[in-house]
Amino acid sequence: MTQTSTKTIYSVRPCTFVYIVLIALTVVTWLIGKAGLAGLDIALTVLGFAMIKGLLIGDYYMGLRNVKSIWRWVIIIWLVVPGALITWAFVISS
């Protein structure tokens, strides 16, 4: 009698996992706003969350993680450059 190895997969698609992370970071950001937390460190943490979310959308939803050229960096550069300028503006105003 031949035995067959049978395996059932109850996996979550990576994009679904990314979706859960995006929702979680959004809710945390909102709670920070509701709590009225302020200051440079809080502002930059919230900005960091936004940049992570943008990176996840670019990589997993736009599919840029599979692109092997300068196009791979389009969203990353777009997040980093304005992110750096916003950081600079908040640092000089704090």
Partner: protein
């Protein structure tokens, strides 16, 4: 035979139906009603998904928003008190609902692309409809915010903060409408069976534009509503 450099999988003979991990050998994989099928990883590409011309357009849009965001941040640096005072009048509940709506719509759009890659045209159509519903929710919530501001006598001339807030969010609002028009056109074509596993550049193009609209909001939300 003319080779497609962006999608090398098109240069191979067409295989009917989705490619599943169970086709790869190894242990037999049972895919029951609740079990998820595991698609093969997408091939590496030289160019981003969708029409390259649209990506040039997306880059131009992103550049405009980057300038807008930087202008907001540096103007705020000179008027911190004013910006903090009037930022506190904004409704963060509406903003978070809109953020969740756009993230969810992006997820649905991504699923529509996954569906058409598996040659499931009707499934693609249904995911796009769900994404459009989320886009509509965004428009309703944002419109109600605008009505509230209008009733309170707030406009572009009220002060510097509201000038930035209204122009930034309305500029983005117009992009949401544009994205919904594109998604609706893609959905109609998908409904008619206009896309297949061998021809879905249109779906990817629409999806890329919509994700751009989502990414812009993901920065706009904390910058205008939360950070102070």
């Amino acid at each position: 035979m003319v080779k497609n450099l962006n999608r090398p999988e098109l240069n191979k003979p067409a295989i009917p139906g989705p490619q599943l991990a169970s086709n790869q050998g190894g242990p037999h994989i049972e895919t029951g009603r609740d079990a998820l099928q595991v698609p093969l990883p997408p091939a590496e590409r030289k160019y981003p998904p969708g029409d390259l011309a649209l990506w040039v357009f997306i880059l131009a849009e992103l550049l405009v928003f980057a300038v807008f965001f930087s202008a907001y941040a540096f103007t705020r640096a000179s008027h911190v008190e004013l910006f903090n005072t009037y930022q506190a009048t904004l409704d963060t509940n509406s903003a978070v609902i809109n953020t969740l709506a756009l993230i969810t719509s992006s997820y649905f759009v991504m699923r529509s692309v996954a569906a058409i890659r598996e040659d499931k045209s009707q499934q693609c159509f249904h995911w796009l409809l769900a994404a459009l519903a989320m886009g509509f929710l965004f428009l309703v919530v944002k419109s109600s915010e605008y009505v509230h501001h209008y009733d309170a006598g707030i406009n572009l001339r009220t002060n510097l903060f509201y000038m930035f807030y209204l122009s930034l969010t309305f500029f983005h609002f117009m992009h949401v409408i544009m994205g919904m028009v594109i998604l609706a056109a893609v959905a109609i074509k998908a409904k008619k069976g206009g896309y297949s596993a061998n021809d879905y550049t249109g779906v990817e193009s629409g999806a890329s534009y919509w994700h751009m609209v989502d990414i812009v909001w993901l920065i706009l939300f904390p910058l205008v509503y939360i950070m102070h």
